[in-house]
Symmetry: C2
Subunit: 208 residues, 2 copies
Amino acid sequence: MSQTNGTIFIVVAPSGAGKTSLVSALLQAEPSVELSVSYTTRAPRQGEENGKHYHFSDRATFENMIATGDFLEYAEVYGNYYGTSKRWLRERLAAGRDILLEIDWQGARQVREVFPDAVSVFILPPSIAVLEARLRGRATDSEEVIARRLSEARAEIDQVAEYDYLIVNDDFEQARLDLISVIRSQRLRGERQCRHHQAAIAAMQTPA
Amino acid sequence: MSQTNGTIFIVVAPSGAGKTSLVSALLQAEPSVELSVSYTTRAPRQGEENGKHYHFSDRATFENMIATGDFLEYAEVYGNYYGTSKRWLRERLAAGRDILLEIDWQGARQVREVFPDAVSVFILPPSIAVLEARLRGRATDSEEVIARRLSEARAEIDQVAEYDYLIVNDDFEQARLDLISVIRSQRLRGERQCRHHQAAIAAMQTPA
């Protein structure tokens, strides 16, 4: 088979570790990586495109997908459903696309159960002090919210040994290059490349 | 243990695939990677430093190292010995250094037997036609030499499925970024990073 399946990348980080900026820099540097597109029952906002920002769906369709077990994970927030479709992920992977999921550590475990080949990346702050300074820097959160975020961050960091790759976001540019390296190197794995370049390689080998 | 062991990288490519330029660009971008330094009994040339270009050794010492089985591989060329010392490699790895070995596919097999954690990279030309054009471009080789090089290249490419990573050197800049990604991503592996940042991580986790 000449088709090369894509890879699922799971990126997990405590709030304040800099995940959003890093993922956005990654998508710019490696446009062939796609962010996972969730299904939702909420109405599209101005400028949101179906299939790009969300898969907009009516309640009956969404609940039918729940019933058939299609959701990797889903939640109801303020009366609207949000969820990640296994079928959609499988279709994108089969089309050779790499898909990036930004989730929490519980979600990461669920994804790995269904997609054991998923590659997981954890982004760490250099220290709790730096994380706290970053959370305070936002200036919008109360002491109580900051304390809760720090406690959640510690709980997330408790699970760090489960991840395939670990990036310390001390210097943003270094962390950006690190994340790009992890994604890029997966595509260079021997097995994947041998499938992808099967015909070219066969033509270069000793004729049988 | 807070010490993080380094990694051995094996880079293999048929003659004309562009390995020398790629490795040299890698060493410039990632100065923490060291080229393996061979032992030799030949006399130092102008500007060659002991321990940097070669480990210069007398014949008795070299033959004693052969007798004790210290060489990963060695050869006698025009009356001088050349060899790679297992002990030297182990010392550099224990010091946390990443060491790159440029060898052929037979050498790669020997290294993997002794160092099963070695990470192997194969650099492929995009096609035999391109490889042939590159070999002809040197303009110094006879038809006979070119024919032999192509036949050796095919034999080398026959073994491509044995490698951890496979880089197609079609566009030099892309291949350069590929090679950097492979080396860089190894340092980000969870297990290695958890050891390397053990104290910092423990300080960020939920207090016991």
